[in-house]
Amino acid sequence: MDKTGFSGFLRGVGRYAPLLGLIVFYIGVTYLREIQYLKAYYLQVLMFGLINCMVTMGLNLINGVTGQFSIGQAGFVAVGAYTSAAITTLMFQFSALSPLARPFVFLISILAAGAVAGVFGYIIGRPSLRVKGDYLAIVTLGFGEIIRAVIRLIPQVGGPRGFSGIPRYVNLAWILAFFALTIWFLRNYIYSSFGRACVSCREDDLAAETMGINTTTHKVQAFIIGAVTAGVAGALLAHLLGYLHPDQFSYIRSTDFLVYLYAGGAGTMSGAIAGAMVLTILPETLRFLAGWRLVIYGLALVLMMLYRPNGICNGKEFSFLIPPLAPRNPEEARD
């Protein structure tokens, strides 16, 4: 392993290639937007796509990696969105803050959104993941609906009228930054002993226990991390839209995330990203079909499940989503 020579230099650059790619992507998109080539609307769709990717990656950790079945991911997005919006809008009067203080306040609101979603994740995950069976699905479905009902009852956040006047502070840079962080953290988690424990829960619960793995603890931990991811994505969503309504977070929205995940390929982050991105953009590009749009969208899903049941990514992971030091095959192991 030559770390000093030119190949070592290339290897060093290679490690940061995904990050460089992301920066180039940002500059490219911003430039295209500047010269008016990219319509504001498409930029908006792109940003929604990235946020959906984050939520789906969190869901992938729960459903794909750990093998549990959560169907209330939108509930955690709602918790995060309303928490952060309440902090920036109600607690701090964001627009009255000096521009220098804004990023800090926003950052705090994002962290709080993640934390609160995580606490909800614990409250829900702890009792329902201890027992085997479909309890988690039922409980998470109920949770999503309860959250929506409770939000309607809180007049401070607009109740059933919706929460308006949220500063539209989020731009592509914020979203890309958190998108990259999400990928990085989740990748590190999945390829650690924690992630392996999650996979063992998916593969064979009992065998995992006899390997000395406390499966309940690891399932709950993965569930919390998935919830935190959704909460953070919710914070970004709130400050991208500037307006929240409880009905945005219904079980139908939760189903969307499930569809993104399984269409992309559950179990891999590549699948989560590809599924969320493609299925966010596809319905928008089909708008010219007017009423036929959703028919074609549905048909595309059916065909994909028929001909590519393992999802768009076919269960494969992009190599940059696998951290180094874990050689996948003997050839790599040799150097």
Binding site: N188, V199, S200, E203, G212
Partner: protein
């Protein structure tokens, strides 16, 4: 019972029993295993052997009795705590993580020895990278000791049957056990494979310094490798002794072959 030089029991089972509804599957089972011993439990189908194993690994909580492991009563602990105490097992119907590679199976079993925190893992701190590197090395070394190196990167479900059995033993050893429970390790093997297995079991006992308890149907294997044998039938212990004693024990012959039978 505490461990003393006079009483170096690794495992001591007293009056163990379990009832499923109206069925008393195991009744007042007594058992003792000394450090470094190779014990065997035999018995006809449905005699309650696997049920005993499931109680010894925490999978079934017994309805009566005590299990002392190295002097500590471990009844009531959860499955992973049994493993943490130092009891590892294989399964009658192999339960590898089928979709994962042999190496990944071993890595998962090494979980208890990988001690880094959640936050270092999330940030993939240098200490985590180092530990993962070492782990890779340790696991490959273990595979190598069991002559499984060539299968390291193959998916477990794609391996030949005998290799899967061997991998499952390797996986159990990766938890650094003091006591290794083998549930019908020879099931589905041909005579040559059984011969090799017998050698492997003896070798593992010496190489890994583990006490081994096995359940088996295969008489030849049990007679060849075990220091002493316990025979169960209808959930009860009916005989105990060295292979020679068991071979001639009338109660055993009756259980296996009916009255007037002969081995």
């Amino acid at each position: 019972m505490p461990i003393t030089p006079e009483n170096p029991s690794v495992l001591e089972v007293r009056d163990l029993g379990i009832r499923f509804g109206g069925l008393q599957a195991v009744d007042s089972f007594h058992y003792r295993l000394k450090e470094g011993d190779l014990g065997g439990i035999i018995g006809p189908n449905g005699a309650g052997k696997t049920t005993i194993f499931n109680m010894l690994t925490g999978i079934y909580p017994p309805t009566s009795g005590e299990i002392f492991f190295r002097g500590e009563n471990i009844v009531g602990k959860s499955i992973h705590d049994f493993t943490a105490c130092g009891i590892a097992r294989t399964f009658q119907n192999i339960r590898l993580f089928r979709e994962l590679s042999a190496l990944e199976n071993i890595k998962i079993a090494s979980h208890m020895r990988v001690r880094y925190g959640l936050f270092p893992a999330l940030f993939r701190a240098p200490s985590v990278r180092r530990r993962e590197d070492e782990l890779e090395y340790e696991c490959m070394a273990l595979l190598d000791r069991l002559s499984l190196t060539q299968y390291a990167h193959s998916r477990a479900s794609s391996l030949p049957y005998g290799i899967q059995r061997r991998l499952e033993i390797a996986r159990a050893l990766a938890t650094s056990p003091r006591l290794l429970l083998l549930d019908e390790p020879a099931a589905g093997m041909n005579p040559q494979e059984v011969d090799r297995l017998a050698k492997t079991i003896l070798w593992i006992r010496d190489e890994f310094k583990v006490t081994i308890l096995l359940i088996e149907h295969h008489m030849q294997l049990v007679m060849n490798v075990c220091d002493h044998i316990s025979v169960v039938n209808f959930g009860k212990l009916i005989a105990e002794g060295t292979p020679g004693e068991i071979r001639t024990n009338p109660a055993v012959i009756e259980a296996y072959l009916g009255k007037g039978g002969k081995f």
